[in-house]
């Protein structure tokens, strides 16, 4: 029977059916659930790697030894994995190697919206783009066949709407592959110049063969309809086109690198007006124009954000429907917030009070940038904050460094903070780094990591100690503090900032969502409240302003009784825990 599943679940199913041996990944929206679902299959090995580069390297090793392997990551994760990717594209593999990239047009939860089809092209490897969950399952299987037939890594590109949409999929059987004996082949796998040069030739020849394949395969197919309008599209845009332009002829591209040149020429010749509709970059359009074919594309569609069916109807059919019902005035927005009881709130309160410059990073704690906390100066990419603090210090001097901290989550520190910290130690920085140890990779939905003591399958694992790592990197000033112990935290921060050696403060308190148990809500006594408004500065969603000159209230259904507001208030008896 057909089942409803997300694109991500279907990718995991496809990998299982394809007899995949190894799935390695680092979490990142919208790719995370692929690995979480793969981990449910006993027959395959799945892991959370410390970062995407390691994940891809694990997969490369598995594939070179003859296994089938898949590495999964969000779009920006591929930037981290680019180094091994570009060279394994020369060497090739033995068993199939598939890299899943989950792009995020519209930036639902990302810091940028790069188009990774460009990276696939840059690496000279095939790129597949499924349009729904059934295709996710089928394309993964096809990707492994292409990978082994052409001896190449294959990129499978999802976008948020494919990864996170559910549609019907039929579950199949797992096909087991015989593992070939391991054969050493240094000429193919030791990429010194003498070996790499001939492999470059192989890679170029392979692209030509893939181009011919692209013209043959049913992954790229024509749906003949009216000759008035022809659309070339791939991925999620295909169902949008079917929805918006039911009469148009469509060249549905499943294998978008290399493009099927002959099919495109024939298709273009068979229609009156040609459109290339693609989200983000003009990756296909640029190549089609280079073939000398006249087409519309980014002259009417944006290079930014998502395309929707209504965008297509609007642009091509001049159909614009005004909403039947709407509230005339602008509605107040609802941005995401740190949870009630979030340990990060204590840290940002202390930092805000200390009036320091904060070089932030990526995780739940990025929400500390929003009002009322507003305590973060920069967020660029995972791991960036520590190196940036050193860079600022080298321009503005030690006194500036004494008012500046880098703030980084525990998972992010393991991902790519360690090398930044080594730089600060080695190059005589005096950066103070605060590692937010909430015992989990929270932002992406609570994944295990090397510091938690469990694997992706929930099995016990060796648990790394942050203190030991940091000391091992050459940091002598290391302290551990509960971020809700505001006084101690502020004292340590002051002392660490004043020294001219690099220091690390580990702010340790578990993510509130791991604790689950409610500890009894807090209550503000309006008779005793001084109307100072301090408790409103921590941005707890449970505390509400009620009006000018009135005491705030705590919403008992939202409060988890963490007690942070009691400490910030500091006036005896104003905020009490109900039942205490």
């Amino acid at each position: 029977m057909k089942q409803l599943m997300t694109g991500n679940e279907a990718i995991a199913l496809g990998a299982w059916e394809a007899g995949v041996n190894v799935v390695a990944a680092y979490p990142g929206t919208p790719s995370t659930e692929i690995t979480e679902n793969a981990a449910k299959y006993d027959e395959l090995y799945a892991e959370w790697a410390p970062n995407e580069k390691v994940a891809l390297e694990v997969a490369i090793g598995a594939a070179i030894t003859g296994g089938r392997a898949m590495a999964c990551m969000k779009h920006v994760g591929v930037n981290v994995a680019m180094d091994p990717l570009l060279t394994v594209a020369f060497s090739g593999i033995e068993g199939g190697l598939v890299l899943i990239t989950a792009d995020d047009p519209g930036m639902h939860s990302s810091q940028n919206e790069q188009d990774n089809r460009r990276l696939g092209r840059f690496a000279k490897i095939p790129v597949l783009e499924p349009a729904d969950s059934a295709e996710c399952r089928d394309f993964v299987k096809a990707a492994f066949v292409i990978s082994e037939t052409f001896d190449t890594p294959v990129m499978l590109r999802l976008t948020t709407r494919v990864a996170h949409s559910q549609s019907l999929v039929e579950k199949g059987e797992r096909v087991l592959r015989e593992l070939p004996p391991y054969q050493k082949n240094p000429q193919k796998y030791v990429m010194v110049p003498a070996n790499a040069k001939p492999r470059h030739t192989v890679a170029e020849e392979r692209l030509l063969k893939l181009k011919a394949y692209s013209d043959e395969t049913e992954l790229n197919r024509v749906e003949k309809n009216s000759a008035a309008i022809g659309v070339i599209c791939s991925g999620i845009v295909y169902p949008y086109v079917k929805d918006a332009l039911p009469d148009a002829s469509v060249l549905k591209i499943g294998l978008s690198n290399p493009l099927p040149e002959q099919k495109i020429r024939d298709f273009a010749a068979s229609v009156k007006t040609l459109y290339v509709i693609e989200e983000l970059d003009d990756v296909m359009e640029e190549q089609i124009r280079a073939m000398g074919i006249k087409t519309h594309g980014k002259d009417i569609f944006s290079l930014e954000g998502e395309i929707f069916p209504e965008t297509i109807r609007e642009k091509l059919c001049d159909e614009k429907t005004a909403p039947a019902y709407r509230y005339g005035k602008e509605l107040v927005v609802r941005p995401p917030v740190l949870c009630a009881g979030c340990p990060h709130r204590g840290t940002f309160y202390v930092l805000k009070q200390a009036k320091v410059n904060v070089l932030g990073d990526i995780g739940c704690y990025t929400l500390g940038a929003l009002p009322p906390l507003g305590a973060i100066d920069t967020t660029i990419c995972m791991g960036a904050g520590i190196g940036m603090a050193l860079g600022m210090e080298k321009v503005r001097g030690k006194d500036f460094a004494k008012q500046t901290v880098a703030v980084i989550g525990d998972s992010t520190f393991i991902h790519s903070g360690i090398t930044g910290l080594i730089d600060a130690v080695y190059n005589n920085g005096c950066t103070t780094t605060i590692i937010l140890d909430n015992h989990i990779t929270a932002m992406t939905g609570h994944q295990q990591n090397p510091l938690t003591g469990f694997t992706v399958k929930g099995e016990p694992a060796r648990k790394l100690q942050l203190e030991t790592i940091v000391k091992g990197l050459g940091i002598d000033r290391v302290s551990v503090v509960d971020p809700f112990d505001l006084k101690t935290f502020a004292q340590i921060l002051k002392a660490d900032l004043s020294t001219e050696e690099p220091s690390v403060i580990i702010a340790r308190r578990p993510c509130e969502l791991l604790l689950k148990g409610a500890k009894g809500a807090c209550y503000i006594n309006p008779e005793l409240c001084l109307r100072c408004g301090k408790c409103l500065k921590i941005g707890c969603p449970a505390i509400e302003k009620t009006g000018v000159g009135k005491a705030p209230i705590i919403r008992s259904e939202l409060c988890v009784g963490c007690g942070l507001c009691q400490k910030v208030c500091g006036n005896d008896g104003v905020i009490t825990k109900v039942g205490e």
């Binding site: 639902h108 996170h164 929707f308 509230y327 107040v332 929003l370 932002m443 939905g445 509400e544």
Partner: protein, 196 residues
Amino acid sequence: MAQSEVKSILIAGVGGQGTVLTARVLSRLLLQKGYDIKVSEIHGMSQRGGSVVTQVRYGDKVHSPIIAPNSADDIIGFELLEGVRALPYLKEGGTIIVNEQKINPMPVVIGKATYPDDLKDFLCHCGAKVKLFDAHLLAMEAGNAKCLNMVMLGAWAKNAGLEFNEEECLNIIANNVPQKFLNVNIDGFKRGYHAF
């Protein structure tokens, strides 16, 4: 059902209210009726208390999982402001079921903006078919504010005109929520089902 007869349900709420589970159960109910289905759920940043929207489309053949403005047959609003925010997606003559509970967004919590006080009034006079009720209260009566999503599902199932009987619904719920919370969820569903 022809392509033009694809039905669309948009579920809007606040991160953490359980809209995704509602969409899951709802789509499995439709699956039992033999429809082709597409569901779009966005998670990530939006889970931390931000606005969330989940879209369900069903019919003989559904291409896009995305609902265009002015085309939803039903909107299920888990919170008053979010229900009103989603309203432009409702097609003429569509039904919007709204929990009248107010959850203040952060700009309101810290006093930088106000929660509009005319939303209920506006909804009642906007011309759409509006079903406004205190689903939070019903969830509390069922024993747990968290079963709000089942209350909303119940209210929708009764109104959907797809002849869902209670038993079908209860079976699907049993398959999709943890055993521990099953009774509360079923109670919540029933309260929603009989709310109108």
